[in-house]
Symmetry: C2
Subunit: 143 residues, 2 copies
């Protein structure tokens, strides 16, 4: 039973792909003045205007600190507005501005569609379905 070298493991492939995928996402987002990670945050707010930072933290698998600071930058750049919750003065609620709404809708075509097309290029329909199924298992394993 020979050990396979690290460079031929699924883990190594995932770490390489993760990096390449994120790099490409950043390239596609740069024309919108966004960075990878910010688009997911905006997406969440789009689906639920007035969502609290705490809810964003839970939904994004990211630390509360990261949410606070990313929200701060997105507000500075005019994508959203913060507002203290009137019921619970601890909580902060966030709302997309028009610029924010428009950004989310553009990201869909300018990033996700392009990225998906490039990612699954040269794979048949069956292979794509299969890959999706296998990746869902992997995600479940790592969560």
């Amino acid at each position: 039973m020979n050990k396979i070298p690290v460079s031929e493991t699924v883990s190594y492939l995932i770490s390489r792909i993760g990096k390449a995928h994120r790099n490409r996402a950043n390239e596609l987002l740069s024309s919108l003045n966004l960075h990878a990670g910010q688009e997911l945050l905006l997406q969440q707010i789009y689906q639920q205007q007035g969502i609290t930072l705490n809810e964003l933290t839970c939904g994004m698998c990211v630390s509360a600190v990261t949410v606070t600071r990313t929200v701060e930058r997105l507000e500075k750049n005019g994508f959203l507005k913060k507002e203290r919750c009137s019921f619970d003065q601890r909580a902060v609620r966030v709302y997309l501005t028009e610029k924010g709404v428009s950004a989310v809708e553009t990201v869909e075509q300018k990033m996700w569609e392009v990225l998906e097309r490039e990612t699954v290029d040269n794979l048949s329909t069956e292979e794509r379905m299969l890959l999706k199924r296998l990746l869902m298992q992997v995600l479940s394993n790592l969560s």
Copy 2:
């Protein structure tokens, strides 16, 4: 022809898996006082003592700046030593210390093996081979 929601694309799965995978790698590396990214750099030097920063940059798909700074931190923590190249005074060559060599050998068991086992858990041998093949195509698509 319905559009599938972003959350069901291969791209979305990859970004989620990439994050989870990196998080888990960081957990496993923390006992060695290393962070994800550093282990790849040490690995490269292990395979070629005296490698230059420029060669490291090429081999790791990372910017030269990142290599410079990561090397600086790894030197500060005693994992490696820098030395100006005698032939080409522009270049800097790096060598693992004993601590560095030992770290690379430990990372193999403490991180890669554990991570791989967890990642491909619940997949048959055939599924693992298939997944590897599909991921190699994806990596090639994104490179």
